[in-house]
Subunit: 235 residues, 6 copies
Amino acid sequence: MLIKVINPNTSVPMTEAIERSARAVAGEKVHAVTASMGPASIESHYDEALAAPGVLAEIGDADGYVIACFGDPGLDAAREVSDGPVVGMAEAAMRAASYLGRGFSVVTTVDRSRGRTWDLAERYGVARFCRGVHACGIRVLDLDRDPDALATITAACRKALARDESDAIVLGCAGMTHLVADLSAEIGAPVVDGVQAATLAVQSLLAMGLRTGDRGEFAAPPPKPYRGLLHGFAR
Amino acid sequence: MLIKVINPNTSVPMTEAIERSARAVAGEKVHAVTASMGPASIESHYDEALAAPGVLAEIGDADGYVIACFGDPGLDAAREVSDGPVVGMAEAAMRAASYLGRGFSVVTTVDRSRGRTWDLAERYGVARFCRGVHACGIRVLDLDRDPDALATITAACRKALARDESDAIVLGCAGMTHLVADLSAEIGAPVVDGVQAATLAVQSLLAMGLRTGDRGEFAAPPPKPYRGLLHGFAR
Amino acid sequence: MLIKVINPNTSVPMTEAIERSARAVAGEKVHAVTASMGPASIESHYDEALAAPGVLAEIGDADGYVIACFGDPGLDAAREVSDGPVVGMAEAAMRAASYLGRGFSVVTTVDRSRGRTWDLAERYGVARFCRGVHACGIRVLDLDRDPDALATITAACRKALARDESDAIVLGCAGMTHLVADLSAEIGAPVVDGVQAATLAVQSLLAMGLRTGDRGEFAAPPPKPYRGLLHGFAR
Amino acid sequence: MLIKVINPNTSVPMTEAIERSARAVAGEKVHAVTASMGPASIESHYDEALAAPGVLAEIGDADGYVIACFGDPGLDAAREVSDGPVVGMAEAAMRAASYLGRGFSVVTTVDRSRGRTWDLAERYGVARFCRGVHACGIRVLDLDRDPDALATITAACRKALARDESDAIVLGCAGMTHLVADLSAEIGAPVVDGVQAATLAVQSLLAMGLRTGDRGEFAAPPPKPYRGLLHGFAR
Amino acid sequence: MLIKVINPNTSVPMTEAIERSARAVAGEKVHAVTASMGPASIESHYDEALAAPGVLAEIGDADGYVIACFGDPGLDAAREVSDGPVVGMAEAAMRAASYLGRGFSVVTTVDRSRGRTWDLAERYGVARFCRGVHACGIRVLDLDRDPDALATITAACRKALARDESDAIVLGCAGMTHLVADLSAEIGAPVVDGVQAATLAVQSLLAMGLRTGDRGEFAAPPPKPYRGLLHGFAR
Amino acid sequence: MLIKVINPNTSVPMTEAIERSARAVAGEKVHAVTASMGPASIESHYDEALAAPGVLAEIGDADGYVIACFGDPGLDAAREVSDGPVVGMAEAAMRAASYLGRGFSVVTTVDRSRGRTWDLAERYGVARFCRGVHACGIRVLDLDRDPDALATITAACRKALARDESDAIVLGCAGMTHLVADLSAEIGAPVVDGVQAATLAVQSLLAMGLRTGDRGEFAAPPPKPYRGLLHGFAR
């Protein structure tokens, strides 16, 4: 059984941290890959739209897939073209957090990402559990080089818990995955990392023999010509 | 690590089937128990209200808990008094099915149970994925003695998939857990059994070190006297 | 015509206050009873789950029933086993308040009870009218022995009206029923007590000859064995 | 204590039937009046908009008011200008029916009135209980002269209960008030008449000393000139 | 092609400002009229209910209609009796603003009008985009005579944008239409005036040959007698 | 003033039909372009994800933009990078149809596209107006070569109107734009084409001087490296 964890941005160090985090809960059957095309980090709708092709290019050679960016880029499309289950880290994190109390707070990177999180929360049916989405003000690629990152995010988590009267924290960026243990110890409340949550969700679906239904909307897409720069995506 | 799967009704054969099903996906760390008090099966709001004490009496000696009845009786209360995570089979089944497409159909036992399923679907935020709740017309304790049970439920699943245009089936009773493999083979669409889904959800939460938040609503309940028949429930 | 008002906790002085309050609006046909089993007060999901059996034990010998705890414990189950209408004080209070303007604020006892109120507000369809749920910080059994209770709750009501820009107050605990007249005079805005509202709702339903529909979900539950401590609940 | 039941249309026989029905549950303190201006019956948005002035002209000389048309015309405005509580028959009927099970069906007169009922159901928070709105095809003023009215409406109620799997019927027109007892006997399920429900709701609010909050939106409207045909409505 | 913009209040100077504003975006085919009956300004539910007749009296002699009051009085009724499209300024403004980002703030006149705006936002499906409704504290007829109106509203807009973290402002009163250009220049964010938005919406619908569907609810109302002051409204 | 209508697929004949349709309502200022990369038609989530880059490559040289595919691919991203307004044809069509009655039906091409339409209806706040989404069974590129297309779609529209009891039809594919006049004439109910509706919406926004707010989420995206096939998308 091979679970492929796809980092939708093109930053290799983040992929390495993602793999370490996923393996810590699910072992050696997990393999992480870096997108071969697209943005260095995903911090806008523009970045996210242009991250989807890189995700889709990675589907096809594993038993299940994780999309390891909190915007879950390309999720529906990946489900159509994959034979195994596909889980986004945002959906898995927010659903896992829904088991932990009445509500959670999301702590993400920059202000402009908050809208997308609300979109996803609604789409996944977890908006009723999501009591707030907060930015810590650190950009994605600074998460592992800003020496104050842990302190800054700890402060943001505490503030979020207090303001939202929430029961748990959801980390709103794959680039925070290496901090989950420290944050959890610091704040004394459950902290959910979507990389781990999504990897375990795929593992669980595989254990039950479950994959995306292929009776209708998520059947394999009808083949057709693709042109220009993207002609290689024709199936 | 011990995961305790609680059968909220008092029927031992159902507990045995539940344990087999849970162990098939999560191994020997799973132990199933039968409620020591309450109804022989849960087929009404009355049965369900009176199943909660039996569930609560089982909390306390494991690392995590599954409530193995599709009404999730006593879930909020169990979270207050447990040190580890508690997952209901309805929430786990419906959340797992939400990874498998745009919508699922629930197939349950008797008509009168459908309302409760809708209540839970809404509460868990999965109503948007739940496209229909259907009864197969078999009472709970007949599920393992009616020779036509598999055929009847297969027919109900097929009808549900067609009518609801859904991507997957959720089995709406723990008494159907022994049928999940056969049903899945028969109907050619994903079939989710909540006993397995909830056991894997607890296992995943434990792997991530997560348990119910205890900062507010789900802190341990304030101790106080209990009277009459229930005086033993004082903490 | 006999309306039975059930106090789901086991505290007799609270039952007496409830009866006085209900009789003030509906006269001598009202009779209040104290639950024969369960918690001394209801301040957690655990307490509430364990209050339901005591409520259900009281159904059967009156024309209509009020459940006089703001969590409405056992409501659905009571409707199944009763021949007459059953009304919870939370539903009646919040529906009555919905006639009084665009929105109301609930003032309840302790913080941890607020979540349950939101659950009920949503279930009863009054969440759109419920603009806030606030705790006054007084525990249930202190409501009639704390000399500052009236002042504390008055302050909480005023703060709630201002913060929520609401039109009315709903008292979120049966233990506040003796304060409704004083509070109303103090704050100069409508104050709704659910004990009175529910009693009048039952009286109104009886006047119209209405009771719970028994065509489906709320038909009498199918009889079956009950075991252990709860074996006496078999019907 | 005087409760004024306002018939928003100008048909006197309907007012008489309304008064009989209201007095049957609330006695001699109820007085019904016919609107002095506007449409003979209310069967369109146009009729309803033009029924509001006639309703508003009746506010001012009673302790509480019922608006006895299922569109509740002028309700918000009446609350602003009344010193006592004002209840619409649609809100009261649908809220009363919400005590009787999981859902009700509305049976109204003509197809084109169904949209307005859904608007009100949503506004009052009862859409979750409203499982269907059905027309019987009889126009308002024919309800008391069509010899087949009872049979036709009985058939519509039975069909609605079956199709919607609902627990109760709500009559969607004040012109059906004289049929409620017969319908109830015929169909064997609870039938709610809003004239009675609203009268009892006003009576209950008065018993609790409750009226519309006047702190904000429902304070008395600021006085100002009115011109033309409506100049007499200046306050 | 004639577009008639109806000012539902009886203040001629406001009509003149409305016409200037509408013509600025849609040219000479626009003609504005003042209601011939009703309140001098619309600042309560009472005013609004009594503004509807004046609106309805204006329907019949143009190709399309705008209702130029932010409460959209008489909208549904006007659609029934008009042969051409009818658009309310609130619906057009809020829908136009929905193209400009994740959310908008409404700035209106007086506090008591905010509730009605939320009603409309929900009815039109734009509540998800409406992040706040704020009053500037200036009464309708003072908007063009208060020398500080522009400064006061500018301040209210800035505060709303900051508090709501919104992308755009919607002006919540036709009496603000003359300020839209200045406000837009002052605050540096999009400002939507519903008079212009509704006029352009009618123009667009006419360009596409679209008008209200007349198959059901919005067919011409059935004719019937009208009595008293309103007898002239019989059709 | 230049309005650029972007056909997100790579089929030139469809672009030509789109341009004719847009110019019919908005004149010569409209220019249509064909995406330079991506799928020949958009009939799956996969196609749609891979259509977004082609849309984004077209932003930058006009005053306003229309995205002429009913999935509105790349809409949020286009708003970030455009200086002028951007409108998707699905949002414009569904909002325009919301002016025409209580509800509309969408008629689209193939079954698997219906889910995406519901996603968009919810996101745009028009789900309350959307009473049904129906497929006619004709694939996108067959719409202008299937000799029975008009008859087939006419039949689908009629069936949708009857089943949904809706007031209007929304055409769910840009490839149907050339049929709007014929369909409208055939079925006798309003038929909304999103190409025209979106072009007029952009024109209206430009007339009011409105564009996407750039204060937060829709500010220009932060610049960063792009790698691989998509490196040219770095800004």
